[in-house]
């Protein structure tokens, strides 16, 4: 096992940044977000997880799909941007690492591969950071996630008092460590602090089966009363992946782009002619929870929540998914 001293980490990031775009949590206006490392930012690896999930690095908020030119009756696609950059994400927590696996299920399986996502995903190495302290809103262990060890990553970091233990998990991860060269030292018998213990405990056992019988239940009316119908929960959720496709015209050229969308919005399902199968916030909030806790498990065999607690942290009216899980299990059918 090797380790790196705290003050040398920026040097390592700099070294990695020579061959790739390095994204790492940094301070921004009192919160933490993944930002490209340019040697100047203030690293924010010690505290709670980032405000925004890192999903936009694989699935940008807005992404050009292709450019076109229109001339009278003629039109042609002039360019399909192809993402060639290499990326290294440093400081990814176990919950977010799981979210990458869930996104992979959506974008890479079931008959079609989303090329835009695939390119970014395949060009990216992930360096995880073990959590030693949980935020009050964390409940990753509910989904069998180990805050001390992330799934599907290339390197696992663990914080020490004066630095980080680094363990290569994949060959690509080993290459990253090789690049670090003399910055690393033998860890000896340095033992990292134990993994965090999330304070919010929730038992998801049986919740899918219960929800399967609850589509028409009056519970959804009650739970949605206070919902504002905003998209904060979906946009901050590392597993929400809905998008819209639209075009932007500039004279006789233009481009098709896709951008994040939210099932919490009225426009999302509104059809030509005005019919909307999810006319009110009741149906929309129900869809959000069923998607996370019933539909996704039915389709992909996994919960689409990783217990990061971002929605709970930022929801303006305290719609709390852990409470929903508990209440769903308690309501009488």
């Amino acid at each position: 096992m090797v380790k790196i001293a705290k003050e040398k980490l920026p040097v390592l990031l700099q070294a990695w940044a020579a061959g790739a775009m390095v994204f790492v949590p940094q301070e921004r206006e009192g919160t933490r977000v993944f930002l490209p490392w340019n040697g100047e930012g203030k690293l924010a690896l010690g505290e709670e997880n980032t405000l925004e999930p890192p999903k936009d690095l694989f699935f940008p908020r807005t992404e050009t799909m292709y450019r076109y030119k229109v001339q009278g009756q003629d039109a042609e696609i002039t360019e399909v941007p192809s993402f060639e950059d290499k990326m290294i994400l440093v400081g990814v927590r176990s919950c977010d690492a799981r979210s990458f696996a869930l996104m992979d299920d959506v974008f890479l399986t079931k008959g079609y591969v989303d090329e835009f996502y695939r390119r970014r995903r395949e060009n990216t190495r992930v360096v995880a950071l073990a959590c030693t302290e949980a935020a009050p809103t964390c409940f990753c262990t509910a989904f069998g996630i180990d805050p001390g060890r992330a799934e599907g990553v290339d390197v696992q970091m663990r914080p020490l008092d004066d630095g980080y233990l680094l363990e290569a998990v994949t060959e690509a991860g080993q290459e990253l460590l090789n690049q670090a060269g003399s910055l690393l030292e033998e860890a000896g018998k340095a033992s990292p602090p134990g993994a965090a213990l999330p304070s919010l405990q929730v038992d998801v056992g049986g919740v899918t089966e219960k929800l399967q019988q609850m589509f028409e239940h009056p519970y959804w009316t009650e739970v949605s009363r206070k919902c504002l119908g905003c998209g904060a929960c979906t946009y901050l959720c590392p597993t929400c992946h809905c998008f819209d496709i639209q075009s932007e015209n500039l004279g006789n050229t233009g481009y098709k782009f896709r951008c994040w969308d939210s099932c919490m919005f009225s426009e999302y399902t509104r059809m030509a002619g005005g019919h909307n199968p999810r006319p009110s916030k009741k149906e929309r909030l129900r869809n959000r929870f069923l998607h996370k806790l019933q539909y996704f498990p039915e389709r992909y065999g996994k919960f689409a929540c990783v217990g990061c607690g971002r929605c709970l942290d930022r929801c303006p009216v305290n719609v709390d998914i852990t409470r929903v899980i508990r209440e769903v299990k308690e309501v009488t059918l």
């Binding site: 696609i77 835009f116 992946h241 015209n249 030509a272």
Partner: protein, 276 residues
Amino acid sequence: MAVEARVNPLVPMEGRIVKIIEETPDVKTFHVTTEKGKPFTPMPGQLAMLSLFEVGEAMFSITSQGPEHLEIAIKRVGMLTEALHEAEPGQTVGIRGPYGNGFPLDMFYGKDILFIAGGIGLAPVRSLINYCIEHREKFGHLWIIYGARSPADLCFKQDLFENWPRVENCRVDVTVDKGDEGWKGHEGFVPAFVEKLNPSPEGKVAVTCGPPIMIKFVLQSLEKLGFRDDQIVTTLEMRMKCGIGKCGRCNLGSRYVCLDGPVFTLAQLKEMPNEY
């Protein structure tokens, strides 16, 4: 365009409208082809994403196909469909597909088939009717019941009044909500017409497509006539963007209508959340 575009399912092929047929005052059928010939070869009931780059993209049923082209019948309802109705032959379009499950042909082999459609809803059903006609020996009796608001609103008139009635062992019944001076046929709504014609469920499979309100009442009529849920097939419409089960918006429970639909048996529909 580069090879990349071809393998990226979200990037359309460049196609061209080569022929436009005016079906009704607000429905036109478009024949679409590409430089390399037919864009792809869909099965009955499958879908295509058709676009005018600068306007928009939407999902349509492929109502028929020839060796070199696809046929898509489009009702004018909004921005894209409006722009398409203004297009003339030679117009470049984007097209991608084929999408969706299509009709479950296995379910129809050797059976009598009852087709019940309203308005533009005949478009997807027509792909199946034509398939049955082309493979006539594999199917039993074909019975087409179709309705529209007025005689002018009847789509595919040539099929309805010339081609299909000539097919062996095939019956066509047409109704309109309200006739005009020249109309000698039946007047009345489709569901009532179906009940009046009183088809027996024996050995039959029923396929229905049309406006949601028509489907709702036709399903009730079929139930009255004794059709079981697994004898009834219908197609669903949801708002769609990606067409490949990624963008999330067409979900009905854990299924995506673009990928796992749009064709479902009534038995399947009853298992799914009532949210369409």
